[in-house]
């Protein structure tokens, strides 16, 4: 039996913020940041859609494959310092991810205890036609799931910190989960190390500590966005130094829940009141009821004290008891898109782009190509801010050096999407003059609608498993 050491404080560092993020900054947190844990979030809402396509092609896939090269680089640094690693790179196939990691470790002669957390896949529940009509209604629109049921491709519940705590309590060096609440990747190690009450936490002290831990997780789950990356502003972002060597955020968290957000010395980026609060509100709806499986967070009392030198003190998060439902995000097939980007140069660039677009609309009609929408935007003019971007008058646009048009066909007919790009090349010789670039001849992809909903907690938690693979060093 393991005896848990209760520490006064621990330090935890951010891993990735999405599938495809840069892991090099994590090395600095391990080598110079004094962390005991790294927690790494590989799953944005739509990442499971990408993983689902992988799994369709090869049933051994379906996980975030970057976890293997990431650990090949970072594990030697972590092992040397006793740093443990928690991630949700398992995606739709946590066992597959663990096997891939262990196979790569074995080839190097490395050993590690890898825990696999599974049980978040609730697609069978969503597919069950005998479920009551109101079950799994859309969380925002309340539409019934029956309208998309036959097109669902994945459906996963957001698990909480509990199985991660269990895995760490059992001595795992590496924990690989599927879908869990992003912040739970961080809350798990905090509960494990600081001896916080998670199960049945009802008194204010316990819930407020969990709320602090959840806030820490939320501040760290998007890697560089918590330390000066993607800092939206005019004239201020330039004062965030050396993003090429950005340090991902690190939190030191004490037993009482108080926390310090910082980053490794000698790294780029900036941790201050402004960069931290941009991340605090990121992808939050009601800030007084930020739901998670472990605690409901109220940000209304949060204080962020900027101590300078990349140190921000976090206090005042308040917690409420979690609900008896878990959030589910499912994805459903919703047709196809094919996109083309096409440029015309001065003179008369705008008019030529309009004439070419009119020709394409004529062809779509002549050939009766089935589609629901032809979406058009002009990169460099309005693709970022749509109708809110002030456009020059046509005369001025005609004096532009070049005009780029992006045309996207949305259709439920895959053949129509596949043929879209082939409507264009002939115009290189037989259309308006001075076309200066064309991409998208073969460019079909499947569209996936997102279906957020709720599921009774008990239906999911009974099936959650923690499995320990591999052996210790």
């Amino acid at each position: 039996m393991k005896i848990k050491t209760i520490m006064k404080s621990i330090r935890i560092g951010a891993g990735l913020g999405f599938y495809g993020d840069n892991w090099e900054p994590v090395a600095a947190s391990i080598e110079r940041g004094g962390v005991q844990f790294i927690a790494s979030d590989h799953l944005a809402e739509l990442t499971l859609a990408i993983l689902q396509k992988d799994r369709q092609r090869d049933p051994s896939l379906g996980y975030a494959r970057d976890v293997v090269p990431m650990l090949m680089k970072l594990w030697p640094l972590m092992r040397e310092r006793g740093v443990r690693f928690v991630c949700n790179a398992g995606g739709l196939n946590p066992q597959g991810a663990a096997k891939a990691v262990l196979a790569a470790f074995q080839a190097k002669g490395w050993k590690a205890r890898v825990a696999v957390v599974s049980g978040d896949d609730v697609l069978p529940c969503l597919l069950d036609q005998t479920a009551p009509v109101e079950a799994f209604a859309h969380l925002f629109s309340s539409a019934p799931v029956a309208g998309v049921r036959d097109r669902l491709v994945f459906g996963n519940a957001y698990l909480g910190a509990r199985p991660i705590v269990a895995a760490l309590d059992a001595g795992a060096d590496i924990v690989i989960t599927g879908r869990v609440a992003d912040a739970a990747l961080f809350l798990g190690p905090l509960v494990h190390s600081l001896g916080w009450t998670l199960d049945g936490a009802t008194d204010a002290r316990d819930l407020d500590r969990l709320a602090q831990g959840l806030t820490v997780g939320h501040l760290l789950e998007c890697s560089g966005q918590g330390s000066g990356g993607n800092f939206g502003s005019q004239g201020a972002w330039q004062a965030i130094p050396d993003l090429a060597h950005i340090g991902y955020p690190i939190a030191e968290v004490w037993e009482d829940g108080s926390a310090l957000i910082t980053k490794a010395p000698g790294t780029g980026g900036r941790v201050n009141f402004d960069t931290v609060r941009q991340q605090l509100l990121y992808e939050v709806h009601n800030p007084h009821a930020y739901f998670s499986p472990d605690v409901v967070l109220d940000m209304g009392g949060i204080q962020l004290l900027d101590e300078g030198e990349d140190r921000v003190r976090l206090t005042g998060a308040r917690g409420g008891a979690p609900t008896d439902t878990l959030k589910v995000v499912a994805g459903f097939r919703d047709g196809y898109k094919a996109e083309v980007t096409w440029g015309f140069s001065w003179p008369d660039a705008w008019d030529k782009a309009q004439a070419a677009q009119a020709t394409i609309r004529t062809l779509l009609k002549d050939k009766r190509i089935p589609h629901e929408e032809l979406y058009v935007e002009y990169p460099g003019l309005n693709s970022a801010h749509g109708a809110l971007a002030p456009l020059p008058k046509p005369d001025a646009l005609n004096q532009s050096n070049e005009i780029w048009t992006r045309l996207v066909l949305r259709t439920s007919d895959k053949a129509a999407a596949d043929g879209f790009g082939r409507l264009f090349p002939w115009m290189g010789l037989s259309g308006p003059a001075y076309t200066c670039g064309f991409t998208g001849l073969h460019n079909t992809s499947e569209l996936l609608g997102i279906w957020p909903t709720l599921i009774p907690r008990a239906d999911v938690e009974a099936g959650v498993q923690v499995e320990l693979l591999g052996d210790g060093a």
């Binding site: 966005q225 005019q234 402004d274 009601n286 994805g331 979406y375 801010h385 997102i450």
Partner: protein
């Protein structure tokens, strides 16, 4: 007293994010004087009207005076969500920039005070 019309970018910074089909914004004043202007001028109704020509959808707003910030959620902004959205900016990452284009009316004194007051965050 003279009134000036300014874009929010003069006195605020912002980040946008996506959840399914809804985009959400954090809007931040640099100091207390700036926050008073944002809290008075940047209401849910005004944000909804600002986005209406492009993204007509209901807006919810929450003030967070403890961090000198306002939180907004704009419904139905993402064409059904990131994996279905046909825009180049399918996740609405640049939409915070569109919020910072929004114009508000303040007095010259109020603007001067907001620009003169030091930032709460440490930038040195």
């Amino acid at each position: 007293m003279s009134t000036v019309r300014i874009p929010l970018v003069r006195v605020a910074h912002a980040r946008s994010g996506d959840k399914a089909d809804w985009v959400d914004f954090g809007l931040f004043a640099w100091n207390e004087a700036g926050y008073r202007l944002l809290a008075r001028e940047v209401t849910a109704e005004r944000v909804q009207a600002h986005f209406a020509p492009w993204l007509p959808g209901e807006v919810d707003a929450w003030p967070l005076p403890n961090i000198l910030a306002l939180k907004f959620v704009l419904r139905g902004a993402l064409q059904g969500g990131g994996a279905r959205n046909l825009r180049l900016d399918n996740l609405g990452k640049a939409m915070a920039g569109a919020l910072l284009r929004m114009e508000i009316d303040v007095t010259q004194d109020e603007l001067d005070a907001a620009l003169a007051a030091p930032r709460v965050g440490v930038w040195s």
